[in-house]
Symmetry: D2
Subunit: 225 residues, 4 copies
């Protein structure tokens, strides 16, 4: 589990031009440098089409943004776990608020990832759904109040009770599951506040991707730890 040792910084590349294609590779390299310099584990979460190349040209751990819960066969336009694994993923985000999944698909996808020795990072929207997901025994639960996503308002400051409550409920079900803090984290103070609330890492996106120097912002982010 060393690739996913906490505290950890996971960067969701989403579908920005600033994090697609050549820019995705550059961003992955910035993550690699920031991770090497800080000693903090950092993880890239690029679009499916960029996974192979980032795997080929960096040492950064890679998550898929989504896996379609289909078995091998006739499913045009789906992203198959086995294909993403060969391309180089170490795990996957599941149920991001921009790609919500059904309960049955979340359950099945966590199981498939585990059976393939891949990491699962399940996104949830509140304490209640985090508690439900804890029963599925994923590696990480990233709690992100959807109303804060993309706002620059950090959940650790605006709704600390969501982070604390999630940590408490999740740990009471399964101590091995690690809670991440998503939505609005972008500074060292946000990150420190998140860890102080019991989170063991953060899930980031636009705050880093759209910054002028992702590397510098990443280093500042982990500077208070």
């Amino acid at each position: 589990m060393s690739k996913f040792k906490t505290p950890i910084v996971i960067l969701n590349f989403k579908t920005y031009l600033e994090s697609s294609g050549n820019n995705a590779l550059k961003l992955a390299k910035a993550l690699e440098i920031a991770s090497d310099e800080s000693g903090i584990n950092m993880v890239a979460t690029p679009q499916a089409a960029d996974i192979y190349r980032i795997k080929d040209e960096t040492r950064i751990p890679i998550l898929a943004q989504h896996i379609d819960n289909v078995n091998p066969g006739g499913h045009t336009g789906s992203n198959l776990l086995e294909c993403l694994k060969e391309a180089g993923i170490d795990g996957s985000l599941i149920n991001h608020s921009e790609k919500r999944m059904t309960l049955a698909d979340i359950d099945s996808t966590i199981t498939k990832l585990r059976n393939n020795d891949l990491f699962s990072v399940v996104c949830t929207n509140n304490v209640n759904t985090s508690e439900a997901i804890a029963n599925f025994d994923p590696n990480f639960i990233a709690v992100e109040p959807p109303e804060l996503i993309g706002t620059g308002i950090s959940v650790s400051q605006a709704e600390p009770e969501v982070v604390e409550g999630t940590v408490r409920k999740v740990k009471s079900i399964n101590k091995n599951i690690k809670v991440l803090c998503g939505a609005g984290i972008s500074t060292g103070d946000d990150m420190k506040a998140a860890l102080d609330l019991g989170a063991e890492g953060v899930l980031l996106a636009s705050g880093i991707i759209l910054s002028e120097s992702p590397e510098k912002v990443l280093l500042e982010l982990v500077s208070k730890m």
Copy 2:
């Protein structure tokens, strides 16, 4: 348009293990050899995660299986046109029966592909929907009665009137659109029958992917032309 000169053979890799990862690369190379030997244009349609590698290691033209109709931005788990283009696609399937799209998304995606100098291959399920799509001016319309997909029963033999009707209606709206015949094509006779009905190529999948020697089946397929 030389990469897509007709008659043409487009192979939809879907999500079979036999056409994922290393197997996708092997299949793309088989397509390349069969294309070189026969002089008939052949096109690979791999999963998103395999596009970059096939582009890097072969000269075969590449289609995406699907493009999500999103603009660059915050859309986790979507496949962005711009990202797929950088990875190496020459165009995309649109509206495959295993990934149906809304009318507005089909319209918008064809336009985006055209504006990016990429080819559009729109799948339709009957004469009626083919006629509707012809108004959007795609490069190709591939008509596939869904009840025949994956059956091994060729549309050119079982429902020739669907192919003929589609060719007639589509050409009456726009002579430049080429009609492909999907569903159940796997032999040289099927292919010849399709072209005799006015189709200018075929869209294939499991019949080739699951065969013992895709290369041999592809060469037999184009042997009667």
Copy 3:
């Protein structure tokens, strides 16, 4: 076709509290009175659960807001055409921008409505998609640029070329299809402008539903005709 004689005013009740349950019945009665007083055909489009009651207590023609393209059988939570017909619909909206449908489902649903002697009112988002839908021979095409829905800015004033273009293209394919103007219509001047552009009616929603006196607004709406 007398129930749908043009010029016509179709009111989409959507899911406002002001147009649900008892309020839906009141709104349907306001439509009935306004229709009787003005001599202009008006049509109610309530939620599925309100159809039976409105049919029972008014003489106003009724459209469903949506029909799921399923056949009778095991489909929990779907709205079946046959069930809605027994409840009292005279037809249905299809492909509203808040309930987009796939191309294949639009085609199939128009056909089913026709085979059941029910009216089809297909919503489209631009000239291009209106032209495509004209091939399916629906009774009405209601063009609504999605960016104007709910804004109070009328399409007949802001984008007259969309209405004119839709009328011209649709009529060139099939003269019997009538074009409606949606999005932002709420005054007599808007309505007159729409008819002057060649539309034969309007599709309305929040501008009427949320007004203090729907009956009065409806009468004002048709006062310039």
Copy 4:
């Protein structure tokens, strides 16, 4: 809670012609008679368009088949909780395998039903997802292995460990939640087996709907209790 006193029989009408419109009313009356004669609570789950009429003409408790997780407003084609409540529902099925919902929507819909004094019956596909749902504190969890739905093979006989495991896990989280047994139940022996495994009722569909005499089959079903 007397309307939902256990043991209970819930009949999902789905979208069969045999349970739509007039037939839905007849079926609801058969449920009412069987309930009166046996003293066992029985519940109708009709399509949205049939709710008002069944409420008006019978005393049988009514569930919706599905509720769309939207708030009042501009949502064409959705089924709003407030509208269904006025039409006469006492609660709703949630997350049926033929209408799977996202985790966030399940959570939110259970809460809305509770706040409206309506009953929630959440469908799940296995022990794992049942356990997760128990955290949301619904009134009922109906476990239905999807592979058995519509087969006539009863879960209580084919996979008793699914029923037992669900009861054990759910009760360990919240003793007030009652577990129902779905999929394949159609005889008195099936029903008795289900109750012996700890279930407090059953969720039925085609086995009753498609029978020649639903009333007789319902009475036989509860005859061994």
